[in-house]
């Protein structure tokens, strides 16, 4: 019979309960969907790494004889080591203008199970060392609609070479395949991986029996650091360019970052949402117990035990917990499928399939029930102390009291009587006021943070391509060359308006024990095509007397303006190091670089005229002619069209934009649930006062103003409190997400404040409008007849 009462009570106040359930659902949906995706990703990663024997260490050298590589096998801690050739080559697809690249990776001619970074062949036949045959990665294969046995043309050493595709597969090394560090997302249409026999690769580029890239695995328990120390002296003579552990390998790093972010969301979001739902439930039940004390007294007088009465009130919490838990868990499972498909798009791994997991459904259900019952118990435990006779008497009337704010004479005197009621009421219900404050603070912060993220991602992408790099086309040379000759030739090309050289020098910067491998960019002092900018978008000229560092680089090296950095140029591996002073620190969101005036850089390293690429300003209609001309050139590695890259980024942003609306909706729901519930509770608690005001002749709107004044007062304070909170969110996210590929800025944008303010205010307003309906329906005569 009591269940009937539960149902009817819930039905009567369905708005409040539904809002509460929706909040639980959102929390658990995120929990179960993210948890399932995390498990899925982790399991796929683990299996893929172990099945394909993913390397623990990576080495780039200029050229090292294979026989020398084999000798490294004896180093303590190395389980297996393997030399190979890795080289990017341009692909010529008929009728396609854009640049398409393949990273050619050689595989040993004799393949066995101990092969490091083995390819998981999805379809095709084994490679033949005697033939010009390749496997390509499956994403590239699909994106470019390649067929088995198709011939694809690549430019190797300036000559067109034809390779036959005999299979496709994937490697743990390229789960997240980026061509350069300034790419944010894989683009399989224009960049893929090709695996080919070492002998074929050697012939293609006229190499001796050498390797330019080495990968190794470690013995169980061996320390990477120790092995690196042992390896370094042996590699030095062969032009060591880089040596890094698995954790710094780009594909692995980005996958790990993604997992870290997902884990944080899977843990944080449900707790936030369940807490909000819990507090709402607590307040609702507490109020209901107060309101129904007469009924509780009667139940107790009948002989119901305390446990039974408490159980009855906990049943409200249970209904909420079960409904929220089930719906949240199920919708999370449903969401995990499209979510997994989204990850399949970016991460190239086997076994990434959505699957039904009863584990998270149950776990979510338990979580939801525990939270709800705890909140419900806290709200209704007063029943236990209520004696039946006492319960049937009306509660002591509320006591009015002066509050400290009244001492602020000016503030107090401008308030209407309704305003005074509202302010005293806030002070009377401190706990509830604090809850509204915190709730609105979170609503605001979630919105401001989301909008800022959106703005900042735009800043990250578009500042780089619209403000910093303002050239139209970048021509990258296959090998560094002397500046003058190529510059003249490019300048004479039809449509070219300006040509500027750029030198990208791989170097190691050291400040005491801190060091970092970066590319130092040499740019003309009066450059118009590469604009280095400070925080306020003022142009900064590349210095001739020192280095400009990106903010992240400065932080990694603990360097400040005036710090002297030790510079080792990794091209020459010369020991006679240069020392350069840091003369400025600038924001940089994509990549991590140091900057210097090109002439000064060339001079300080002793390479006169050293240039690696040219930035060109050109009429758009001449771009494809330029690309066509240099397509098969041996000296030119690539012709990048910046406009194309910008357009791709814009498309990507558009799809991310829709996420914003989802977050905005979540924000509105939280704000609505908090305000609506607090309005309903206030209404039931103070129906007497409100009805008296109606009888005095006040309109429903004037009566509502007592409640709304209170809500707006706390709401505005909450929104102000939300500003530092959203900043904290942003800094936290930025710190956990930034890496060498991208650095998240942390400045909140003013448009995000405006949006967050408007949306929060909207949710408060909607909730108040719904509460106003209840005031209109207030039965004046009955309410006032009843004794308080």
């Amino acid at each position: 019979m009591l269940w009937k009462k539960t149902w009817r009570d819930i039905k009567e106040n369905k708005g409040a309960y539904i809002a509460c359930i929706i909040i639980i659902i959102i929390g658990l949906m995120v929990f179960s969907a993210f948890s399932m995706v995390i498990d899925n990703l982790k399991l796929s990663q683990k299996n893929f790494y172990s099945n394909q024997n993913f390397a623990d260490g990576f080495i780039k050298v200029r050229s090292m004889p294979m026989s020398e590589v084999k000798k490294l096998q004896n180093i303590d801690g190395i389980k297996s080591i393997q030399g190979r050739l890795v080289k990017d080559a341009r692909v010529l697809f008929p009728n396609r203008d854009e640049n398409v690249y393949l990273r050619l990776v050689s595989l040993p001619s004799t393949q066995n199970s101990s092969l490091i970074n083995g390819v998981d062949l999805l379809q095709g036949i084994p490679l033949n060392s005697k033939e010009m045959n390749v496997w390509v990665d499956n994403k590239f294969y699909d994106a470019n609609k390649i067929e088995i046995n198709q011939q694809i043309d690549v430019i190797a050493q300036g000559a067109k070479k034809s390779l036959r595709v005999v299979g496709y597969g994937r490697s743990p090394e390229f789960i997240y395949a980026l061509r350069t560090s300034s790419d944010l997302f894989p683009n399989p249409e224009t960049f893929g991986i090709a695996f080919l026999p070492y002998d074929v690769m050697k012939a293609l580029f006229s190499y001796q029996e050498v390797a330019n890239n080495v990968v190794f695995t470690l013995e169980p328990g061996a320390s990477y650091k120790d092995v690196e120390e042992l390896l370094k002296p042996k590699l030095k003579t062969y032009g060591l360019e880089a040596i890094y552990p698995r954790k710094d390998q780009v594909s692995h790093m980005l996958l790990s970052e993604e997992l870290k972010g997902l884990e944080a969301a899977a843990q944080g979001m449900p707790i936030l949402f369940l807490s909000i739902a819990g507090v709402i439930l607590y307040i609702m039940l507490k109020r209901m117990v107060e309101q129904q004390r007469g009924q509780i007294g009667i139940l107790k007088a009948f002989g119901y035990t305390e446990r039974e009465v408490l159980g009855h009130y906990l049943s409200y919490a249970l209904v909420l917990g079960v409904a929220g838990g089930l719906l949240g868990g199920l919708s999370g499972i449903a969401l995990s499928y499209p979510f997994t498909s989204m990850y399949q798009l970016f991460f190239n791994m086997p076994g990434l399939n959505g699957q039904f997991s009863p584990r998270y459904l149950l776990l979510g259900l338990m979580l939801s029930i525990i939270f709800s019952l705890f909140a419900g118990y806290q709200g209704s435990k007063k029943i236990l102390t209520l004696e039946p006779a006492e319960a049937m008497r009306p509660p002591a009337p509320p006591i009015g009291r002066k509050i400290w704010l009244e001492k602020v004479r000016f503030f107090w005197s401008i308030l209407t009587a309704q305003g005074k009621m509202a302010v005293r009421n806030m002070a009377r219900n401190k706990g509830r006021s604090a809850f509204i404050f915190v709730g609105i603070m979170f609503t605001f912060a979630i919105l401001a943070f989301t909008w800022s993220m959106n703005d900042l991602i735009k800043v990250m992408l578009f500042d780089q391509y619209q403000k910093v790099e303002t050239y139209d086309v970048k021509v990258t040379l296959s090998a560094p060359s002397n500046q003058k000759s190529a510059e003249g030739e490019l300048y004479n090309f039809p449509g070219v308006k300006r040509v500027e050289p750029m030198a990208e020098v791989p170097a190691t910067l050291k400040n005491k024990w801190l060091k970092k491998d970066v590319a130092i960019l040499g740019i003309q002092e009066d450059s118009l095509l590469y604009n280095i900018m400070d925080k306020d978008y003022n142009k900064v000229a590349p210095p001739t007397n020192g280095l400009l560092l990106s903010e992240r680089l400065a932080r990694l090296l603990n360097a400040h303006v005036g710090t002297r950095l030790h510079l080792t140029d990794r091209l020459s591996q010369d020991e006679d190091n240069t020392e350069l002073e840091v003369v400025g620190i600038i924001p940089q969101y994509l990549g991590v670089n140091a900057y210097m005036e090109i002439g000064a850089l060339q001079e300080s390293l002793g390479y006169k005229g050293f240039t690696t690429s040219y930035m060109i300003s050109i009429n758009p209609e001449n771009i494809s002619a330029l690309q066509n001309k240099y397509r098969e050139s041996a000296v030119i590695a690539g012709v990048d069209d910046l406009g194309k890259r910008l357009r791709q980024s814009q498309e990507l942003m558009a799809s991310f934009g829709s996420m914003i609306y989802i977050y905005a909706l979540i924000g509105i729901i939280i704000g609505f649930a908090i305000i609506y519930n607090s309005s309903i509770i206030t209404l039931s608690e103070r129906s007497h006062e409100l009805a008296s005001m109606r009888v005095l002749g006040m309109t429903p709107r004037e009566v509502l103003s007592v409640i709304t004044f209170e809500q707006w007062f706390i709401g505005v304070l909450g929104m102000i409190g939300g500003i530092p909170l959203s900043k904290a969110f942003l800094v936290g996210i930025s710190q956990s997400m930034s890496n060498d590929v991208y650095t998240m800025p942390t400045n909140l944008t003013s448009s995000s404040f405006v949006m967050a303010f408007l949306v929060t205010a909207l949710s408060i307003w909607i909730a108040q409008q719904m509460a106003a309906q209840k005031i209109k329906r207030l039965n004046l005569a009955d309410t006032l007849k009843a004794r308080e």
Binding site: I399, G400, A781
Partner: protein
Amino acid sequence: MEPIMVGKNLSKEYQMGEVTVAALKDANFELYEGELLVILGPSGSGKSTLLNIIGGMDNASGGELFYQGVPLHQADAKQLTLYRRNDVGFVFQFYNLMPNLTAKENIHLAAQISKDPLPIDELLQKVGLADRADHFPSQLSGGEQQRIALARALAKNPTMLLCDEPTGALDSQTSVQVLKLLKESCRDFGKTAVIITHNTAIAEIADRVFYLKDGTIDRIERNSEPVSPEKVTW
């Protein structure tokens, strides 16, 4: 003298589950400016229903009601709110003061929505509670709270004061004070006062008395010589 209110064949029916209860049947009456009217009857006789209809808190199911010539039986919720705002002051058995406003602020709450309010301090003087203006309702006795409620009702400067058992929760001595104030207000401010009660003794102070029985106005009597509240025998 022209009546300020005229009720013709007023009736009110409530739906109580499947039963229709006729709370008021065929009520015909007139109210005059400045008179003190007592509506007397046992519980269930329909006196609260009648008062609620007169006060614009409830609509009649049938009949006509004119206030200064305006047909209130055709008024919508908005017009009724305006009517209550400008022309009616209510006093309840249980005071219904705002617990978190002081005595003075409670009066101010009413005064601020009136076009032509009476001075608050004067009203506080009148009800003899000027020294308790800054007290909250919980710090006042029942009689004091009812006097504040009366001051609050007067503050809007309404044409009519409608009082629902105003002394129902008070002892005899306090009741006398409150009734005296009511009568004086009628006289000093020229208000029409309607008091509903089941206490026959109070009927002696009225100019006229409506006797209600089973939802009908049984008879209307005029007191040729209304007594002063002090002389009422409780």
